[in-house]
Each structure stands twice: as structure tokens, then as C-alpha cells.
């Protein structure tokens, strides 16, 4: 069952990804992106990352994508997409580089299932036991507020700085 769900979500994610890249209308791209993000969130659930799945949907697909949508609508984009996708040499180069990366990754992942490293991996039992003991939120919250509290506070500052910076940049007339 889980495998079937995984492949369904995976297919949706890949399809959404291509949609993002190929859709000429920015709003369309954005909607495909939301779909991809939701599919990935589904895969998160399958991978026992329930909390992340939740914030993936709420923060990413919900808040950040809406921010993008705001901007697109605010700027009234979506009309000058005639030359939005490169052609000729640019397109070729893009495919060449992407293809090279894809080739490298494929070379690395081919036969990854037989990799001796994986044989030494513990199974998912540990994670399942943790989730059973602490709950989905507790499992991630405990280290976040103990071992990683400094990094956590720093991200808070980062967000504040980004907030102030965004206001400052967008406000001034260039």
C-alpha cells in the first residue's frame, strides 16, 4: 500500500515539477508548484515525518506560495511570457548541464540498493519507536529546544532580519 502511494505521489511530484518549468503562465507554474509541494508532503508522511509534512503544507504550500502569488498578482505578470523560455543555444546549454548533472546522479544512484553501506543501516524501527514514545511533534521538538536551541534562536533572528530587510528593500524607490 505504502509503495503504491509513494509511486503515485512521486509521479505527481515529477509531473508538477515539469509543469513548473514548462508552464508559461507564472500563475500556472505556481499552481503546479503547490501540487509538487503537496505531493512531497505526502511522501514525508510515508517516510514517518509527520510534523514536516504538516508544515510543508501549511508554511510552504500555504504561506510562501501565497506570497509568490501575491507578488505575481501585484506586479500583474503573466502577459509577457512570449520569450520566457530560452531557445537555441541557451536551451541546449541548459539541457546539457542539467543532463550532465542527471547523468552523474544516475551513475551514483544506479545499484544504490546493493550499496554495502545500506546493509549496515538500521531499519525504520528506531524512528517508529521514537514516534511512538514522543509523538510526531515531541520527537522533533525535544532536540530542537535542547541540543539545537542556539541554531533555533539564530533562525529566529534571521527571520526578523529578513522581515526588516524585505520591508526596507521593497519600500524604497530605486
Amino acid at each position: 500500500m505504502a509503495d503504491i502511494l509513494f509511486f503515485v505521489f512521486a509521479a505527481m511530484a515529477i509531473g508538477g515539477g515539469f509543469g513548473v518549468v514548462l508552464q508559461k503562465n507564472p500563475v500556472g507554474s505556481l499552481l503546479f508548484m503547490v501540487g509538487t509541494l503537496a505531493s512531497v508532503a505526502g511522501i514525508y508522511v510515508l517516510l514517518d515525518a509527520h510534523f514536516l509534512a504538516a508544515i510543508q503544507v501549511m508554511v510552504y504550500a500555504g504561506a510562501i506560495m501565497v506570497l509568490f502569488l501575491f507578488v505575481i498578482m501585484l506586479l500583474n505578470l503573466g502577459h509577457d511570457y512570449r520569450d520566457d523560455i530560452k531557445s537555441g543555444l541557451g536551451l541546449f546549454m541548459a539541457f546539457a548541464v542539467s543532463g550532465a548533472i542527471a547523468g552523474l546522479l544516475a551513475r551514483q544512484l544506479r545499484g544504490a540498493g546493493d550499496n554495502p553501506l545500506l546493509a549496515n543501516f538500521p531499519g525504520p524501527e528506531g524512528m517508529e519507536r521514537l514516534l511512538a514514545e514522543e509523538g510526531a511533534i515531541g520527537a522533533i521538538a525535544r532536540p530542537l529546544f535542547t541540543d539545537y536551541v542556539v541554531a533555533f534562536e539564530l533562525t529566529g533572528i534571521l527571520l526578523l532580519v529578513a522581515l526588516v530587510g524585505a520591508v526596507a528593500i521593497a519600500k524604497q524607490r530605486v
Binding site: 512521486a10 515529477i14 515525518a49 509568490f68 501585484l74 520566457d84 530560452k86 524512528m127 541554531a151 524585505a166
Partner: protein, 97 residues
């Protein structure tokens, strides 16, 4: 399921890369970068299932940074758009000395 998740992650990353390279619309490029981030996040989560909760915590931080990046990046795009009336990256060539 680990290997399958990694393969999916790789595919999404390549799609994101392709998107960054072929599109001229700054916002779409931005979206594709988000896609790349998500691909990486997926790898983290996949490994985290076997190797411990830290992978998920890292994803948490990546999301935070992505949010901050989106805020600042979109602010810049707005600012640029005010100036050029366009978000086509080929129109701006001031990023040089």
C-alpha cells in the same frame, strides 16, 4: 523505500536545475530554486528515517531559510520591477562592476 526516495529527489533536483536555466522570468527561476530545495529536503527526510531525527531538524532549518530567502528575494523582485517594469532577467545587467 530509501533508494526510491533518493531517486525521486534526484529527479526533482534536475528538474529544478533545468527550470532555473531555461526560464527568464525571475519569479519562475525563484520557484525552481524552491523546487531544488525541496528535492534536497526529501533526501534529508529519507535518510532521517533510518539515521535519526537530526535530518528532519535540518529540513526545519532549511524551510526557515527558504522562507527568509523568499521574503527578501520577492522584495528585490518588486524593487526591480518598479524600475524596469519587467521581471525578465535578461533586462537587468547591473550585476557587474
Amino acid at each position: 523505500m530509501l533508494v526510491e526516495a533518493l531517486v525521486l529527489s534526484a529527479i526533482l533536483f534536475v528538474i529544478g536545475t533545468l527550470g532555473v536555466l531555461v526560464r527568464r522570468n525571475a519569479i519562475i527561476m525563484f520557484l525552481c530554486i524552491e523546487l531544488q530545495l525541496n528535492a534536497v529536503n526529501l533526501s534529508f527526510v529519507a535518510f532521517s528515517r533510518y539515521l535519526g531525527i537530526e535530518g528532519q531538524i535540518f529540513v526545519f532549518f532549511v524551510m526557515t531559510v527558504a522562507a527568509a530567502e523568499a521574503a527578501v528575494g520577492l522584495a528585490i523582485i518588486i524593487s526591480i520591477f518598479r524600475h524596469y517594469e519587467s521581471v525578465n532577467v535578461e533586462n537587468f545587467n547591473l550585476l557587474k562592476w
